[in-house]
Symmetry: C2
Subunit: 464 residues, 2 copies
């Protein structure tokens, strides 16, 4: 039941409702499958065209001479029940229904979705959707999106799997992952989730060797208790990060018109998620920050943060923010660390946490200081703030990158804070190339760390 490999590594794909008109969903889906470099047969199904995008078309899926593993549905909703029957005759294993016009519209749409599902079940076909953007499978070299590649970047293959009820949410997270050069294992946007849902996908991802981190956008869960039990098992080895929409009465109503979901009681839901070790976040930016930390850095072994800076203002705000979190705390540097720092730094530096190297700081000052702080047993998380704009630092920038590469030995969690224009962005990218994450403003790093530490503590407790 939970072997859904045919969705991600299909041996052939048919596009039902392939179109020859750019801008039409049936055209864009076909074009994207071709352009992604899908390595097996693609069959466009269209009643009138002979050929689309250089591919021979077929009037019906029944006319296709070979087996079809996966079908992508881009026709109007009303043809769905009948088309599913035809797919059944063709022994199609899965259908991704991109089209809307089903349960989310209420009225007839509900019946249409029910009949479509019934026909699929009778024919042993699994369905993703309807009302979704479907699948991205970087290893399978295809996606079912109608977003042209010039308008939307795709991430490389990697270890993050994303499950989402909202296609738009999915696109946002995928483009961000692509920009951050982070890779995706499996992506599913299931919209109304008539058939394949979180439960199916979690079961599948639990045993998927490619997947190490699971990110979910949820509007409503049909089987809350089952989900919680499954999540509890999986979160022990694969962190699950969830963004839950529909937390207010009006938000729940909006979710209902969106995907026909019914959001439950929030307090009960969030309580259950916490007990299952699910990291719940309120917005997409926090989800992304947490993913970045989990992929690039070791999980912190404790909650004590040490800051080093050449411009202390934003650190003062960060101190406030650390103090206001539930789980983080400011590290108290050991006296011997302070003594060592004093032995080589000028006396106008401020020897506390944050350690203020002042605007005169050169790369080497960071180098020595970070070595000492890294060796300090009172420190779990190292958070350097960089004002790359300050001349002494910008003039020794090459040295700084060499230093940071050495500091980042994955013994302790390292997160940098930096902000600025082009020059700063270049440095942030170079840090990233060495697997060092940067976040701005500090609040974002701190909130993400706070959740990650909560998760580590959860794992520790559940081991006891």
């Amino acid at each position: 039941m939970s072997d859904l490999d045919f969705f991600f590594k299909p041996k052939s794909i048919a596009v039902l409702g392939a179109s020859s008109k750019p801008g039409k969903i049936g055209y864009e889906v076909l074009k994207n499958i071709i352009d992604a470099g899908y390595e097996h047969e693609i069959y466009p199904i269209n009643i009138s065209a002979e050929e689309i995008l250089g591919k021979k078309t077929f009037k019906s899926i029944l006319d296709v001479p070979n087996n079809v593993d996966l079908a992508v549905y881009a026709l109007p909703a009303k043809y769905a029940p009948q088309t599913v029957l035809e797919c059944g005759k063709k022994q199609v294993k899965g259908i991704v229904i991109i089209s809307g016009g089903f349960k989310e519209l209420k009225g007839e749409g509900i019946e249409l979705e029910r009949r479509t599902l019934e026909n699929a079940r009778q024919n042993n076909i699994r369905i993703i959707g309807p009302n979704c953007v479907g699948i991205l499978s970087p290893k399978g070299k295809f996606d079912t999106f109608f977003q042209p590649r010039y308008a939307m970047m795709r991430p490389k293959p990697g270890n993050i799997s994303v499950l989402t009820q909202s296609g738009t949410f999915g696109l946002s997270i995928l483009e961000w992952l692509a920009e951050e050069d982070l890779g995706v294992a499996k992506f599913v946007s299931y919209g109304n989730k008539a058939d394949v849902d979180e439960i199916d996908m979690l079961k599948y991802l639990e045993n998927d060797p490619e997947t190490e981190i699971i990110a979910l956008y949820v509007e409503g869960l049909k089987y809350g208790r089952q989900f919680a039990e499954l999540a509890k098992k999986i979160s022990k080895t694969k962190p699950i990060i969830m963004l839950k929409a529909g937390r207010t009465a009006k938000g729940a109503r909006a979710a209902h018109s969106h995907t026909g979901s019914i959001a439950g009681n929030d307090d009960v839901f969030f309580g259950a998620m916490k007990q299952s070790g699910v990291i719940v976040v309120p917005e997409i930016d926090e989800m992304l920050d947490i993913i970045k930390l989990l992929v690039l850095q070791p999980r912190p072994k404790g909650n004590r943060v040490a800051m080093v800076t050449n411009g202390v203002g934003p650190c003062v705000i960060a101190v406030d923010e650390i103090e206001m979190t539930r789980y983080l705390s400011l590290a108290e540097l050991k006296e011997e660390s302070i003594d060592k720092l004093k032995s080589f730094l000028p006396d106008y530096c401020v020897f506390s946490n944050p350690l203020d190297l002042t605007g005169s700081a050169q790369a080497s000052w960071y180098g020595h200081s970070l070595e000492i702080i890294k060796a300090d047993e009172n420190v779990d998380i190292i958070m350097p703030f960089f004002v790359f704009q300050d001349a002494p630092l910008s003039e020794s920038i090459e040295e700084l990158h060499e230093i940071m590469k050495k500091i980042n030995d994955k013994e302790k969690t390292l997160v940098c804070i930096a902000t600025g224009g082009e020059f700063t962005e270049t440095q942030v990218k170079r840090l990233r190339e060495n697997q060092i994450p940067s976040v701005f403003p500090a609040k974002r790093a701190i909130e993400a760390l706070n959740k990650v530490i909560w998760y580590s503590m959860y794992l520790q407790k559940s081991e006891e």
Copy 2:
């Protein structure tokens, strides 16, 4: 007393401690003044060099043959009291002391700062600093920064003035303003603020015709009550946005080591700020979002938000977020608006707020819908969400920009939400060129709007 024009439009500048070594603060400051295109005489003061960066140097400021309006101090702290006396003889009006090593170091530093100030007062010299990055005056065509121009962008002239105790905070906000193509009237980073402080600057900016919006970063206020009274007067015509650091005990301690400031009781302080109409924010991103809204858009006439989208997921989260704010509410579209929308949109659209045009939406669908929503008396704030990646929209993108230009007639507040990679960023920039702000994620727009509405309500009440 409050005429501080000589700081921003000096008729000549001396750099005390000008250096011929790149990377040294005394070199970078001089280079930046020259490179900014400062239009009057510049005098580098250096005991050994003959010439630096093509400018004749002088051993002492007393050797300069002409008047000196403004001096920038980049020497070690210990020379400050004596140098100020020399500036006095030369009838210098103001000194910007960039160097650290004063009160923030405690011990001798306190006495050094006291003596420096005493000498300045006796000689009728105003001081900005010490321990700061000083001044940016886009109209005066100079800055006193030691951040090279290749490493830090400067904003154009404009209507925003920025006062900050933290230089780093200042640099961050300036580069962000530059990236967003927003302009600055006066910028002052005063660090330890031995002399010129918020009170002086507020008095000055109150009557500065260039300044329409004031942004402040504050670690501690010496004259809280006086500040509150002044802010109350000014905020009636010029919005004041404040970021306050040192809100926790440890944060206050960090602020004290940073600039020697003493942060007071938070509740009392924030209460006073609210009564003075000051918009208080917790982090720099919110400050920036509010500035963007205030500069580019009319202030909302009410609190009712209408959303239009071609991908509703992020809107569902936004509904939750609106519901959780104190001042915003979801607009209830009038029945006649809904009827008009239904007359031209396909029936699979979702006719509520958010109005879901679905992934099939073309530019024209947005055009018609936004016209109707703009005319709806139940709507104060229009918030379109764009999934630019969706083919029907990306294929009609030119038309969309024409439409948005027309919609943005400054009758109602317009804020767009969009996220994505390069293609989306290009569209966001094009919207911005037409004075339309975009923010992501929606939470940021909503939090900024919430504060702006609070401010509008404050003004309304104080008029009654």
